[in-house]
């Protein structure tokens, strides 16, 4: 099932995307929204729903959502209010969720999505802010449900699309676009697997040509981009089959089961809520002045579409390469960080596309999760460009740096990690774990993006990693003996030896089989452990066998 191109029916899809905001504190309480801490430790009396507590609006929450609104071409309401959504559940400590109902702060916007064969504009009905509930844990205690309120009060925005989507592929493209925007705005990390981006889908089908919508169902619990696509596809076929079999679609909420790759209806008791929305009396209306709006607009970063065009014009990159590099903000940032004043940016983009993306794929990691010292890729590309190391040794050097900066699970306990600042220290904990106090920092910090550190450590703790004695790519290349040899005396000896050891190949080469040049160069590279300058070897072999 790759595309939905049903002859008689078309689907109507709308998405509700929740994005967890990267604010420094919760939506209405002065406590950081950090995950992975011991349960119920990142809480204030407000998060626990204690009597007498009051919410206080986090100003960044408002700024972040306005950014999102502007980036999705929304109208920004000059005045909007918070509302209470009332329901009882053990992980909802106040008995209501602070949200927005009748007056969302952003409304009537759009985003443009690109598919293989066409582009399409998708309406954004509204974006509003709300707080998250806590977490109910049903599977850790045989008799009780456990509640962790660390997440309670975490700021969320909900982005509601118009029912403009017609295929699962469009839904996938739209969701990817939303993720890209929140990442470019740096308001959400966009990680669906970890729940910082969540998506519900409203799906209905109707006979082609019919204007009225069919009865819709709401799909929940899809925890990856692919699952959203698959769940919608499943639902469309389920509804079509139902209708074709003479049945009718029942309006209901359905939960996607990833292991079975199918959805099941939620029990009716789990839905059927009357949320009794009413204006939140503890919070005054949010007033957004034109000045504030324009100030935020001026702060908006360059978004992906613009950046892609700039990469083409500024670096002379192909459209495809520019797209690959700008699709993910962090990758584009990484690229631009590595260019520095290097005269040939395309060498760098090619190296990133080929080798950096390879290691990320192998490790199933995101660029924001790995550490590569600033300038290291540029240094490698530059060494190779100046013929100081061979292309194959450039890759070797890169792999060495990548491994030494990223494969240290054996030292840091493989448990709860958070983001934070980290300073790299030289030294090797494997060989000398007790002597951390003797380590001195080398100037290799990673300020550009966050690095994972152990949460048990207080803020700004220095973390000691088993890195190689790294001060520059060149120094490491020398230490690893990867520097290309262009010394003609050494190469002459090498070439003579190879010619002497391979009389058959020499004979055949002289007989006209010129393709054997590759064989001789390969032998030289092998014998020199990749250090021989291949150009010089080629010239010498040619001279000796033909001259």
């Amino acid at each position: 099932m790759s595309t939905i191109a049903h002859e008689r029916f078309e689907a109507v899809i709308g998405l509700e995307v929740h994005a967890q905001l990267l604010t420094k504190s919760k939506a209405f309480a002065p406590v950081p929204p950090i995950y992975g801490e011991a349960p119920n430790t990142m809480v204030t009396p407000l998060c626990l729903g204690h009597p007498g507590t009051l919410p206080v609006v986090n100003e960044n929450l408002v700024r972040y959502i306005i950014k999102m609104g502007l980036a999705t071409n929304c109208q920004i309401a000059p005045k909007s209010i918070f509302a209470r959504k009332n329901y009882f559940y053990p992980d909802l400590p106040k008995g209501y969720q602070i949200s927005q109902f009748e007056t969302p702060i952003c409304h009537d916007g759009f985003v443009d999505i690109e598919l293989e064969e066409y582009d399409k504009r998708i309406g954004v009905t509204r974006i509003h802010m709300e707080e998250d509930a806590g977490k109910s844990i049903h599977d850790q205690d045989p008799y009780n449900t456990l509640v962790d309120l660390n997440r309670a009060g975490t700021p969320l925005i909900e982005i509601v699309s118009e029912p403009d989507l017609r295929t699962p592929q469009e839904a996938y493209a739209y969701l990817t676009k939303i993720k890209q925007i929140v990442q470019y705005l740096e308001i959400c990390d966009g990680n669906m697997e970890e729940g910082s981006l969540r998506c519900d889908a409203n799906v209905s089908v109707r006979p082609r040509g019919q204007k009225e919508f069919g009865t819709r169902t709401e799909l929940k619990n899809m925890n990856s981009f692919r699952n959203v696509e698959k769940a919608i596809e499943y639902e469309i076929y389920r509804q079509i089959e139902l209708i074709e079999g003479g049945g009718t679609v029942v309006q209901q909420t359905r939960l996607w089961d990833t292991s079975k790759m199918q959805s099941r209806p939620m029990r009716s008791k789990e839905e059927a809520h009357d949320y009794r929305y009413f204006p939140e009396p503890d919070l005054p209306p949010i007033i957004v002045s034109d000045e504030m709006k324009e100030e935020i607009r001026a702060e908006l970063p360059e978004l992906a579409d613009v950046r892609q065009k700039r990469f083409v014009s500024e670096y002379g990159m192909s459209e495809d390469d520019a797209k690959t590099l700008t699709e993910d903000k962090y990758l584009a940032d990484f690229f631009e960080r590595e260019i520095g004043d290097y005269p040939n940016p395309l060498d760098i983009s090619n190296f990133i596309k080929t080798h950096v993306l390879r290691t990320l794929n192998e490790d199933k990691k995101h660029i924001s999760e790995v550490n590569l010292p600033t300038g290291s890729v540029q240094a490698i590309v530059s060494l190779n460009g100046k013929n100081e190391i061979s292309s194959s040794n450039a890759v070797k050097l890169y792999d060495e740096i990548y491994d030494s900066f990223n494969n240290f699970q054996n030292v840091l306990p493989d448990q709860d990690f958070v983001t934070g600042n980290i300073t790299f220290l030289k030294g090797n904990l494997d060989t000398n774990p007790e002597s951390v106090s003797n380590f001195v920092p080398i100037n290799t910090s990673i300020p550009d993006y966050s690095v994972r550190i152990n949460t048990d450590l207080p803020d700004n703790t220095l973390v000691y990693l088993p890195v190689l004695e790294y001060s520059s790519a060149k120094g490491l290349a020398e230490k690893l003996n990867l520097i290309q040899v262009s010394d003609s005396g050494f190469l002459e000896e090498l070439v003579d030896e190879i010619i002497a050891n391979n009389p058959d190949e020499v004979e055949r080469y002289r007989g006209g089989k010129k393709q054997l040049m590759g064989f001789f160069v390969g032998q030289a590279m092998k014998a020199s452990k990749g250090k021989a300058n291949p150009k010089m070897v080629t010239q010498m072999v040619a001279k000796k066998l033909e001259g």
């Binding site: 009332n86 009413f278 503890d282």
Partner: protein
């Protein structure tokens, strides 16, 4: 020397500074008074005299070296709805039985910083819902002027503690008249500040857009003094105001007699006790003789006040009280007993289905299908056991008016009426400094007489409730006694953030003697 407990804060402070008495003497005098009378009056529901004495000794040192705060000499009780760290905060409800607050309300922090001493927690109507202080898990507080009478409510304990000289100042909360009406019934001064003037952080919410914390005391000056300390912006309450505070004490010391007093016909008509009406008119005349100008004002939407209030306040209450669910703190129903009951109901229904005819069967099966899940039943049972009748009544009312299909007809309409009431006051205050009204239609009545008629009880708030709808300030000050021997109060209402004006007017009444 006169009984120390009859002193105002100002008087006590003079004696303390002169070295005639120590703060320990003062606290001990109140402790003795409490020991002798609290059992009957039932104003305090929790006492901590020991830490009050410790506090007193600390502050005594400051008095001696001249660094004491402006409330050194204030010996206070706190309504059981305002959080004090480490002390019970039960809101007079079974659902918060054994609950202790883990933090101090902003007002408590501010009072502590100015060296007020706290004796204990004061009785009230459960969650501040009531006008008699009879709806309390601790039983009714009794009026010190006649212990067969109610204190008024909901801040009944706060008014009775001052009237019974068991504190020289207390804090109450006022959502529809809950400070002013008991102040009137008990013959003390009680002020409801403008909404947003005093931080609500740490006040257990009844109706968030109506609730105000305010002081009760023997004199207008004492009330001004306490207000001065608790008023002002608080960044922990987004509804608190940044409008600067006046020097309230200065105003009270030199009151202006040439004020314009608005007299609304609507408040002196039917339903008001004739004797009260006569004595208030007498007071108003005297104020005029002293230099005040009387101006007739109209507040035409006053008659919708009660209905509007009982829709909006209960709507907010239904949501505010949702957190009392027995999950994280407070009363939780016995789980095993609950599960047994649920099982028994299920079995009974199954048994009945076996023996039912077809018609009954469908109904019974429907009942079986709709039987509570254990979690839902636990909520219901905990809340049924924990809340009293008046609280349940208001939660149900509030839940109803917010329900899908009823919201516009009730909540939406009431909000529009609230705006009209606000506009009435705004217009009136263009012409006058304060508006004078009775505080309550009668004097304190017999305990138990209104218990079966909530609507009759609600009518007691008719004169006070519109101030909360409009968010303006008001004060009740005693004007002597009724022929039945009970105190009568007069109310002055002022525009938003015009506390100075109502304090000024109240001080003029005090000066009439």
């Amino acid at each position: 020397m006169a009984d120390l407990t009859t002193f105002t804060i100002t008087e006590a402070r003079e004696k303390l500074q002169a070295g005639d008495i120590t703060l320990r003497d003062l606290v001990q005098a109140y402790a003795k008074q409490i020991e002798e009378h609290n059992e009957e009056i039932n104003a305090y529901v929790f006492l901590d005299i020991e830490s009050a004495l410790e506090q007193a000794d600390e502050i005594q040192k400051k008095i001696e070296n001249g660094t004491a705060g402006r409330l050194a000499g204030a010996i206070m009780g706190i309504k059981d709805v305002i959080c004090e760290r480490g002390k019970p905060t039960t809101c007079a409800s079974n659902i918060l039985e054994n609950f202790e607050s883990v933090y101090d309300a902003t007002v408590i922090e501010r009072l502590k910083a100015e060296d007020a001493v706290f004796l204990g927690r004061l009785n009230m109507d459960e969650f501040a819902m009531g006008s008699t202080n009879e709806y309390s898990r601790y039983g009714a507080a009794r009026n010190p002027h006649d212990t067969t009478k109610v204190t008024g409510g909901s801040s009944g304990g706060s008014a009775a503690a001052v009237a019974g000289t068991m504190a020289n100042a207390t804090l109450g909360s006022d959502t529809g008249g809950s400070i002013r009406q008991p102040a009137s019934y008990c013959g003390v001064v009680g002020l409801k500040p403008t909404y947003g003037r005093v931080s609500r952080y740490g006040l257990v919410a009844y109706a968030s857009s109506f609730d105000s914390i305010g002081p009760l005391a023997h004199s207008v000056e004492d009330v001004a003094n306490v207000l001065q300390v608790i008023a002002g912006f608080d960044d922990r309450d987004n509804t608190s105001s940044q409008v600067p505070c006046d020097d309230y004490v200065e105003v009270v010391k030199n009151p202006n007699k040439k004020i314009r007093i608005g007299v609304p016909e609507e408040f002196f008509g039917e339903g008001l006790d004739e004797e009260i009406s006569a004595s208030l008119k007498d007071v108003i005349k005297k104020l005029e003789a002293e230099g005040a100008e009387l101006v007739p004002v109209e507040l035409p939407h006053t008659k919708y006040g009660l209905a509007t209030y009982y829709i909006l306040a209960t709507a907010e209450a239904s949501s505010n009280l949702a957190r009392f669910d027995g999950i994280r703190y407070g009363h939780r129903a016995d789980k095993d007993q609950m599960l047994d009951e649920l099982k028994a109901e299920e079995n009974a229904l199954k048994e009945a289905i076996k023996n039912a005819d077809d018609e009954e069967k469908a109904d019974l099966e429907n009942q079986l299908a709709r039987l509570d899940a254990p979690l839902a039943r636990l909520y219901k049972k905990s809340r049924t056991e924990g809340f009293g009748n008046e609280v349940k009544r208001r939660i149900m009312l509030g839940t109803y008016v917010l329900s899908a299909g009823y919201y516009d007809a009730y909540y939406g309409k009431a909000q529009r009426v609230r705006r009209l009431i606000k506009e009435d006051y705004s217009k009136a205050f263009e012409k006058v400094d304060v508006i004078v009204t009775p505080t309550a239609p009668t004097t304190a009545f017999d305990i138990g007489s209104n218990l079966n008629d909530p609507v009759q009880m609600y009518l007691n708030d008719a004169y006070t409730i519109t101030a909360n709808l409009a968010g303006i300030c008001g004060i009740s000050v005693p004007v002597g006694k009724h022929s039945n021997g009970l105190p009568v109060g007069i109310q002055f209402l002022g525009d938003t953030f015009q506390e100075s004006k109502v304090l000024n007017a109240a001080r003029l009444v005090e000066l009439l003697g």
